[in-house]
Symmetry: C2
């Protein structure tokens, strides 16, 4: 497990969309974007459904995450963070985590998920094995 | 091959960073961000080095690309485009394509690559097999 430096934590705690890669049954890459947050040194995201990425992670826990920083370098090239990690899917807690993340991504007063009786969903926890990308976290 | 709708072309032609996923020799996901453009219905990016993603694509041409749109939906959730495709790596032309893309991503007067005698590099051409994500291209 890698301890995340403060520069990487700041990107992961901000309203920056995480591009999450899982592996399909045929080994091909499957990509979707999610809201993420931190729980200690684990990256977490919430889900309401039995989506393809969750089924993929239950079969093969290898995961890639990339996320853009608002920062650019001196000629205007955007910094970005890449994590390679191992995921586990925990049942339940999806709506509560999504509500917490919605405050970061959409605004402090947003109700999310918007429905009154959401399914329990799940929480995905990612242990980070390697940090790369372009930014202070990769130097 | 999929014909890209105008909404997807607009995202791919703008200054939006593309998150490119290739497959490592062990089958794990490898992610990096690049500038992309279009050549007809192919997505193209330039490279100066024999980087890991190019070696990966020469061994397994399956590629995933995700890219954020500047647009959000009515509650502020960002749209994003996901492409699954097949890549081929063409030797040469890297600096010329990077210079063209730098005009979009950095500004019309930027010299890029910054060095005077860059290596020939390569161009990666992606044939799109499937479009998904969240936005008008996925409806």
């Amino acid at each position: 497990m890698v301890v995340l430096p403060p520069s990487a934590r700041a990107v992961l705690e901000g309203p920056n969309l995480a591009h999450v890669v899982t592996l399909d049954p045929d080994g091909g890459p499957q990509v979707s974007c999610v809201w993420v947050g931190l729980d200690g040194d684990e990256v977490v995201f919430g889900s309401l459904g039995p989506w393809r990425k969750l089924r993929n992670l239950q079969r093969d826990p290898r995961v890639g995450v990339s996320i853009e920083s608002p920062e650019t370098n001196d000629i205007g090239m955007r910094q970005y963070l890449v994590l390679q990690g191992t995921a586990r899917v925990e049942p339940g807690g999806g709506p509560e985590l999504l509500q917490e993340l919605a405050r970061v991504y959409l605004g402090p007063d947003v109700k999310f998920p918007p429905m009154d009786d959401p399914p329990p969903g799940s929480i995905v926890r990612i242990t980070v094995d390697r940090i790369s990308g372009v930014g202070p976290w990769a130097e």
